[in-house]
Amino acid sequence: MAVARAAAAVGPMKITKVEAVRFRRNLLIQGLAPNWTWVRLHTDTGLIGIGESYPTQEAHIGALREIAPLLLGKDPTGIDRLWQDIFYRISYQPWGGAEFRMLTAINIAQWDILGKASGLPVYKLLGGKSQEKLLVYNTMNGWPINGMREHDYPEKIAEFLLKRGIKAIKLYPYDRGPVNAFARHGGTFITQAELKESLDPIQRIRKAAGNEMEIALDLSSKWNLPCSLQIAKSLEPYNIMCLEDPMLPDNLEAYATLARETSIPVCLSERLATRFRFREMFESRAVDVVMYDVTWCGGISEAKKISDMADTYKIPTSPHTGGGPVLWYASIHTATALTNFYIMESVYHLYNDLYPHFLQNVPVPVNGHVTAPETPGLGLELREEPFRNGDATIESIAEL
């Protein structure tokens, strides 16, 4: 009986409606604006799946209007087939960008549907629980903690995080804060003085917390090769957890040069998408830690394929999560299933202040770790208020 019920639940179904959810312009929640777009897939079984991408809205919704007719009448549980069909459709006119991010959002919504139809949390469909709980670091960037920015209060921030068991932090000393060497030369040059001054927050955290705090650095892809080499060299004495995106990832040989020259693990890049691009990266030994964004790289399916391929190179995965709440949930499910997991990004300002405005059950790090929800699908428990008060509006894009 149970088997028959389950089979009926995941039996043939059809996508009957595609919706976009947009968020009110100028909506600010504790100083943060939701910068993501949701995609909702409705089916003839009544099941609804939600996907997401970011950071723009108009291009996404425009692209969704172009793609949505391809989805109507299709079985959302045919996950790889639909991905391939849409990818081939959009891969002629240089693929990527907004329509690729919508393919990504659609893929996430399909996994949400498959999970709900089968009664399983998504991680169980991706290989099961490889990680009981996920180690996280906290990204600072433009997201202060209770008003404290990384450059002004590095010691206090470290203390705040360590008290919560979060023992890793990601900093942006080269393109933010008082030094901001990038702003001075546009990423083409860095002086000896700037190299030294940029170390300030790192030295202060080391002084206050010793090696208890792991430090990752994000260079936002703003530098050329010689600057990247100089920056890496100046960081060598500080036991850096990883150096992320010093250059644009469009020349992997340049990255291979950097990776050979420095002992700091090189991490890239959420700017890349599809297993096809990541394959090149692995083959050219350009990287020690792989990072992707589940809402940019092609979705949950593609993320899992990329990690599985990375595993054959002994390369672990560190998912990028600095976007919307569906990204946060989808990354937790994906990472839970990975055997080659490293550490996952988390942003206090987002999971503490922004996501709870939209969701009731936001996973929050406990003792420096998060765990996946055990409810079917992605396990998103949406709040109704944003849909009632106009913070979120639903727009029908295509319908059978």
Partner: protein, 423 residues
């Protein structure tokens, strides 16, 4: 002539009203403005076309405008126009996202705007609608640079390296020549082209339901090629395009079957995402391998050039990052002794810009053209479409892109103008 900016400026001021009116002043009469003064983008517009447009002319099914335009207005009254395709909703959405960053910028800062745009997009996988709209914006910027300097676009891209540009005809059922179809009308089509001096054609002979090509499908495709060779010998050059659908073994079998027939090139035989697989194909076959208008930016082409994955470079300048990026890609290809064969099966401005670019490229092979498009579709929108004569086209000698867009398309409701951002 360039030493008289004041005169020209006075002329501009005197004709200010006409210039603000847009198309009222013929482009040929536009003169160089004083380029020492700042120029600012004041408004960004999107132009789309009526969905039910029926152009006709025996197209066999594709009757409308699959392209969209971007117009940049400046505080000096000069406007520039750019184009991309084949969708418009994602592109115009992307324009809505990005246009505010263009306002008040000097449109002549071409590489700087491109770089900032690219870095913002590359943050999340550069390409798609975002890259296509960047391409259109870049084209519009170059159009403005041409108009402000009084120079046709090809003179800004290195000047003339040839006066006549050889074209081939892309032959498909949906952009057909007078309803003729390959297979049943192969010889009639071949003769029609040769009679007009067009001595090269691109065909799509290989069909498969999946990524594998059966022996029967391979044989059926080869029949088109034998028919052409048997009837006109080597008078007609043949390019074969596969739309990127086949797997590696199928691509190898296709290349091998084509070897005895002096094929000009085999284009996009596999999905274009593995340079090594293409390098292996290129190493194993004597058929020149061409790729691919599905790439964007010099960064992406570099890898394929470095790994010797192709013998001919193809790009679409409304997709690859715009005319300025296309020129950089060709210049890089030249250092590998690889020639360029631009893709032009989009809108009229793509065609005009490609003609300008080909006039300037030292490493040019042959340019795509399509009879239905230049005979029926483009003239619906533009007056002075370069139509092949004896199989060759030449760029217009007008400032900028030099396309004389018909003013009536804006009155009839065929073209719909929407302001996306204004200062």
């Amino acid at each position: 002539m360039h030493n008289a900016p004041l005169t020209r400026r006075n002329f501009l001021l005197a004709s200010g009203a006409a210039i603000l009116g847009g198309a009222a002043l013929p482009d040929a009469m536009r003169a160089a403005m004083d380029n020492t003064e700042a120029l600012k983008i004041t408004r960004v517009e999107a132009v789309t076309f009526r969905k039910d447009l029926k152009i006709g002319g025996g197209s066999g099914g594709s009757d409308g405008a699959e392209f969209c335009w971007v117009r940049l207005h400046t505080d000096k009254g000069i406007t520039g126009i750019g184009e991309t395709y084949p969708f418009h909703q994602g592109e115009i959405g992307a324009l809505r996202d990005y246009a505010p960053t263009l306002l008040r910028r000097d449109p002549r800062d071409i590489d700087g705007i491109w770089r900032a745009f690219y870095h913002r997009m590359a943050m999340r996988n550069a390409g798609g609608a975002d890259m296509r709209i960047l391409s259109a914006v870049n084209m519009a910027q170059l159009d403005i640079l041409g108009k402000t300097s009084g120079l046709p676009l090809y003179r800004l891209l290195g000047g003339r390296t040839r006066s006549r540009i050889r074209v081939y005809n892309t032959t498909t059922d949906y952009w057909a020549i007078n309803e003729m179809k390959m297979g049943s009308d192969t010889l009639k089509i071949t003769r029609f082209l040769l009679d007009r001096g067009i001595t090269a054609m691109k065909i799509y002979p290989f069909r498969a339901n999946d990524n594998y090509i059966s022996n029967q499908a391979l044989e059926q495709g080869m029949r088109w090629i034998r028919d052409i060779r048997d009837s006109v010998g080597t008078d007609m050059d043949i390019c074969v395009d596969c739309w990127g659908v086949f797997d590696f073994p199928s691509a190898q079998r296709i290349a091998k079957a084509l070897e005895p027939y002096n094929i000009m090139y085999l284009e996009d035989a596999m999905l274009m995402n593995n340079a090594r697989a293409y390098a292996q194909l290129a190493a194993e076959t004597s058929v020149p391998i061409c790729m691919s208008e599905t790439f964007a930016t010099r960064y992406e082409y570099r890898e394929f050039l470095e790994s010797r994955a192709c013998d001919v470079v193809m790009y679409d300048l409304t997709w690859c990052g715009g005319p300025s990026e296309a020129k950089k890609i060709s210049d890089m290809a030249d250092s590998y002794l690889i020639p360029t064969s631009p893709h032009t099966c989009g809108g009229p401005l793509l065609y005009f810009c490609s003609v300008h670019l080909c006039a300037a490229l030292p490493n040019f092979l042959i340019m795509e053209s399509n009879y239905w498009k230049y005979a029926h579709q483009y003239p619906y929108f533009v007056n002075n479409v370069p139509v092949p004569e004896k199989g060759h086209v030449s760029p217009p000698e007008l400032p900028g892109i030099g396309a004389e867009i018909k003013p009536e398309i804006f009155r009839t409701g065929d073209a719909i103008v929407e302001t996306v951002a204004a200062a």
